[in-house]
């Protein structure tokens, strides 16, 4: 994505808007460049990624090709983690925590029962047990805990949620929650799904709305456009208020949810325009999204149509990564949840692996840890790309990554499937791996750690602590101490 440079503007321009995060300029820092002059800490940023993938192939005794042989720094790279050797050895920024597990058979905090694809995801995302293997979280997710704690004052105070995989790709079924990785409070004691934006184009426009172009004519046009949008929304808001009393009780609830989102948008438009300055700048418009690929009808093997079941997720992930990069650099949001692939993903694996099956069937039908590792490597390259961008963007005396905690979750591990009792299965939460990056709060980067059978949520808890949020997620208490020495 090309970068469109913008002129620096004076701070505090646009008084009267609500407060919004601003990029860190050197003049604001103390002489060590580690904290803001005046004693405030630099803004921290939090990222949760999710990849609907387990570690090995069904029946393959080889557990994974991910976990390094050595513990500690300078760990060895495997087939799945090879991309971490790229981007100027981004491995030095990335820690791998292996030997994690989510309890099943309803045994313990943050557990599930036996039905893997629906059941195991909620405990992973929100740390709350899921005894009936339903697909929805009963608690809010880590990105929302963090947004609630440290998001205030930024333009996207409730965080950003992006979905790289935009379609379920199957006929005769629906994702039923397997596409949602963020859950938020409904404001009335309940928890509601918080689905991600599937269009990089829409996300681009939302993120950079309000940036002021350098050309005075363009700047005036942008100002007018902002005025139009605010006035239009104001009237729409009024229309909803007038309509509301006439609605049935159930429709009132629906419309209230709609209105809440309109209010959020109004707040974002009212925020002081993000000021280009320092490293904060607007990317050039990436243009139209790659088209949504057709359903693959579970196809694999001979006659597999390589155009089906794929929406160029490769390009979509890059575009979203660029947006996350600038969201953090410009401090537009402090918390991001990014779904790379859905749980039980039926995206075609062919375009990036040459394997003529969808992602889910690679695990089951191809059934080799070799094949699965190719999918893991594809996604890890996307993650590495984003980590490297944040690392290569200076902030204070270090980089944006130094003030960021990133967690990459995988849907499954490799081992016992409690539904069948069979070993070496993809439908397993044994031997899970969570990968992290960033040095916020002193988080340990570039190491391979043995998780000692802890819950993946213990890693999330650690990353939350690293950005200053002293809370546990759901029922899972505590951190991975070595990760936050």
């Amino acid at each position: 994505m090309a970068i469109k440079s913008l002129h620096r503007r004076t701070f505090l321009r646009g008084l009267g808007g609500i407060a919004v995060g601003l990029p860190v300029l050197e003049i604001m820092l103390d002489r060590h460049g580690r904290a803001l002059a005046g004693g405030g800490a630099m803004a921290k940023h939090f990222f949760v990624g999710f990849h609907g993938q387990a570690m090995g192939g069904d029946g393959d005794p080889e557990q994974d090709r991910y976990r390094p042989d050595t513990l500690g720094p300078n760990y060895d790279l495997k087939q799945a983690t090879m991309p971490l050797g790229n981007y100027n050895d981004v491995r030095q920024q990335v820690s791998i925590i292996s030997n994690l597990r989510i309890p099943y058979n309803n045994s313990g905090p943050g557990s599930w029962n036996t039905e893997f694809h629906l059941g195991a995801m909620p405990p992973l995302l929100c740390g709350v047990s899921n005894p009936d293997d339903s697909s929805a979280c009963r608690g809010i997710t880590a990105d929302q805990v963090v947004a609630n704690a440290i998001g205030a004052g930024t333009k996207f105070a409730t965080g950003l949620q992006y979905n790289v995989q935009p379609s379920w790709y199957l006929t005769d079924s629906a994702p039923y929650g397997r596409d949602v990785i963020s859950y938020k409070s409904d404001g009335a004691g309940g928890v509601v799904p918080n689905p991600g934006q599937t269009s990089p184009q829409a996300a681009f426009m939302a993120l950079f709305q309000g940036f002021v172009p350098p050309d005075p004519t363009d700047a005036l046009a942008a100002q007018r456009e902002l005025a139009r949008r605010k006035s239009v929304l104001d009237l729409v808001h009024g229309d909803i208020d007038r309509l509301m009393p006439r609605l049935s009780a159930a429709d009132k609830i629906r419309m209230q949810r709609h209105l809440d989102e309109i209010r959020d948008l109004e707040n974002r438009l009212a925020a002081i325009p993000p000021d280009a300055g320092g490293e904060c700048m607007m990317y050039a418009d990436p243009g139209a999204d790659p088209p949504i690929g057709g359903n693959n009808a579970g196809t694999g093997g001979d006659g597999f149509d390589t155009n089906a079941g794929y929406s160029d997720e490769d390009t979509r992930a890059r575009r979203f990564s660029d947006l996350v990069h600038m969201a953090f650099v410009c401090d537009l949001s402090r918390s991001v949840a990014m779904q790379y692939t859905m749980a039980q993903s039926h995206m075609s694996a062919f375009p990036f692996t040459g394997i003529p099956y969808d992602q889910h069937e690679v695990g089951h039908s191809v059934g080799t840890t070799d094949a699965v590792s190719q999918i893991l490597a594809w996604q890890l390259d996307q993650f590495a790309y984003l980590v490297a961008k944040l690392r290569d963007t200076p902030e204070g005396a270090g980089s944006v990554l130094d003030n960021t905690a990133m967690v990459l979750l995988y849907e499954g591990g490799h081992g016992l499937d409690p539904a069948t009792g069979d070993p070496n299965r993809t439908h397993s939460t044994e031997n899970m791996i969570v990968t992290v990056a960033g040095r916020a709060g002193g988080m340990l980067a570039g190491h391979h750690l043995d998780g000692g059978g802890l819950h993946p949520v213990n890693v999330l808890n650690t990353a939350m602590r690293a950005v200053g949020v002293d809370e546990d997620l759901g029922e899972v208490v505590g951190i991975v101490p070595e990760l936050l020495p």
Binding site: Q161, V192, Q197, V232, L243
Partner: protein, 549 residues
């Protein structure tokens, strides 16, 4: 481990009572049934309207325009046929229909996309002066021409919100428009902001039904405009035309007979055929095929032409689609299937002869949708036939069965042997409901081509015989005959149509309505056009029941 899959095939009745509306308390004393300031109408002249004597009024909540409905609506309102919604709105869940209220919760991606779309669509319109002038409908005499701004607002607003606007409402929008026209010294800047309001208005984004209270608590009589909207989105998948709104305003949609008469005119329009085609494609899952554009288009055309012939041209027994003795193909598709080529790129009727094909079940569209593990899946095909053609509920596998695993490896390379293996244990009860049905179509591969062996292996000769509920059959032709004899298809299609029309599966409250439709469908010789007319011509179509909390 001992496992049992109880072989109960819950029939249609199981569907009833499954549906429960979203949570929320019922009862809303403040619902007065009229848009603020608009003329009160809707078939009642003073007093409280009566609820329909026969009941059957289902619970309905406000429904968001599906992406497809949004794009068609934008095309009709503004002449913008770029299908912009499909580019920015999240895909609708096909469950199996794309318009089910349970999948329509508002969220940030929706709001962001609607706002951006409003700006883009408006910008595109204002750049195209010919189209712009047509939408605005008057030539402004000056930047601040209030008369023209008001005329445009009242006329366009009625189309966009599907009801007349009150003077007070018009004034509110016009004030905003004139303010921006003055600020930017451009009349059309004012038009632009008004358009953007309409394109994000709750009454545009949602089909809001309020209605008037009746003598039965919780049952509301819809206004004529609300009826027109129900009618238009069901029959045409788009917003009511000016003409339909005129008829609503003139009281021509006041009774069930009126509605049926208007619908009879609408169903003759090409847009109704588009909608019927879309319904069938969602019903059987072929709305999106995993093939090249050329093959996809050819298969869709083939099926659409059969639908059109059966429903519109012959106005015959809809079930005949499954037993049709020929099909519409062009040379490309004929060659693909191995049928005699008609000698043209245009589609024309070719008889199947003794090929073993018959009707829709031998179309590539249908045969493409239910595969698994790199080949056809007899289980998946059997399942879709049970679920969609018979409306039967296949019980989910017991929790200790991993449905994602392919059938176990056995010595034989032939599929039928592997499947027989999987049916020797506790799974047999369930799989025997699906697999034998699918095996009856095994001579047709996942692109609908005839084959005699499994994966080209000469030792795996496909017999192509299937069995359903104790009766054996051979191929699509045989299955079609059994479909007719089983007598489930005709009831099932009524349930499916109703679900598509109302945005939710049939529930207890809907039962009388649906039962009557089933009876009328049979009595009338199973004409699909008549089914549609009966559906919109029922008294209950004019009412809604408030959702229970």
């Amino acid at each position: 481990m001992s496992r049992t899959c109880l072989a109960f095939t819950s029939l249609l009745v199981t569907l009833a009572g499954c549906y429960k509306g979203p949570p929320g308390a019922s009862g809303d004393a403040s619902a007065d049934g009229t848009a603020d300031g608009t003329a009160s109408e809707g078939g009642s002249s003073g007093g409280t309207p009566e609820a329909p004597e026969l009941g059957g009024v289902g619970q309905v909540g406000m429904r968001r325009l599906s992406v497809d409905e949004y794009d068609r609506t934008i095309a009709d309102l503004l002449g913008d046929d770029t299908r912009p919604g499909a580019t920015l709105l999240a895909e609708d869940v096909a469950d199996p229909y794309d318009n089910q209220i349970s999948n329509q919760q508002a969220n940030r991606p929706l709001i962001e996309a609607l706002e951006q779309l409003a700006g883009e669509i408006t910008g595109r319109l204002l750049e195209d002066t010919a189209r712009r002038d047509q939408v605005v409908g008057c030539q402004p005499a000056a930047t601040g021409d209030e008369a023209c701004m008001s005329e445009f607002t009242a006329r366009f607003g009625r189309r966009a919100l599907r009801r007349p606007l009150s003077d007070e409402e018009v004034a509110r929008y016009v004030d905003l428009g004139l303010q921006f026209a003055a600020d930017e010294d451009d009349f059309y800047a004012g038009v632009g902001v008004i358009l953007r309001v309409f394109l994000q208005d709750p009454e545009f984004v949602y089909r809001v039904e309020v209605g008037t209270e009746t003598d039965e608590p919780g049952v509301f009589r819809l206004s004529s405009f609300e009826v027109a909207t129900r009618l238009s989105y069901f029959l045409w998948g788009t917003t009511p035309s000016d003409e339909l709104l005129d008829r609503a305003e003139a009281g021509e949609l006041a009774t069930a007979e009126d509605v049926r008469a208007v619908a009879a005119e609408m169903i003759a329009d090409e847009r109704a055929m588009d909608r019927i085609d879309r319904f069938h494609s969602l019903w059987l899952g072929y709305y999106r095929l995993p093939h090249s554009a050329e093959l996809t288009t050819a298969m869709r055309t083939e099926t659409r032409m059969l639908l059109e012939k059966t429903i519109m041209q012959d106005q015959g027994d809809w079930r005949g689609m499954f037993s049709a003795t020929g099909t519409f193909v062009n040379d490309f598709l004929a060659q693909h299937y191995g049928l005699p080529a008609p000698g043209s790129d245009a589609f024309s009727w070719v008889e199947y002869g003794d090929s073993g094909r018959a009707g829709l079940l031998s179309h590539g569209s249908f045969l493409s949708v239910a595969g698994k593990y790199g080949d056809t899946s007899p289980t998946q095909r059997g399942k879709i036939i049970r679920k969609r053609l018979f409306c039967q509920v296949i019980p989910p596998p017991p929790p200790d069965v991993n449905i994602d695993e392919p059938p176990p490896e056995v010595d034989s390379p032939c599929k039928i042997d592997r499947y027989n293996m999987s049916r020797i244990d506790g799974c047999s009860a369930c799989h025997s409901l699906m697999d034998p049905v699918g095996f009856g179509l095994e001579n047709y591969d996942q692109q609908g081509r005839f084959r005699t062996t499994d994966n080209g292996l000469p030792e795996c000769v496909i017999e192509g015989s299937g069995e359903i509920d104790g009766q054996s059959f051979q191929g699509p032709a045989g299955l079609a005959t059994l479909l007719a004899e089983e007598g489930l298809l005709d009831t099932c299609i009524v349930y499916q149509s109703y679900q598509f029309a109302m945005g939710h599966p049939v529930a207890d409250d809907d039962q009388r309505y649906v039962d009557d439709l089933v009876t009328a469908f049979a009595d009338g010789g199973y004409r699909f056009d008549e089914l549609v007319l009966d559906l919109v011509g029922d008294e209950a179509f004019l009412y809604r029941r408030e959702e229970e909390g």
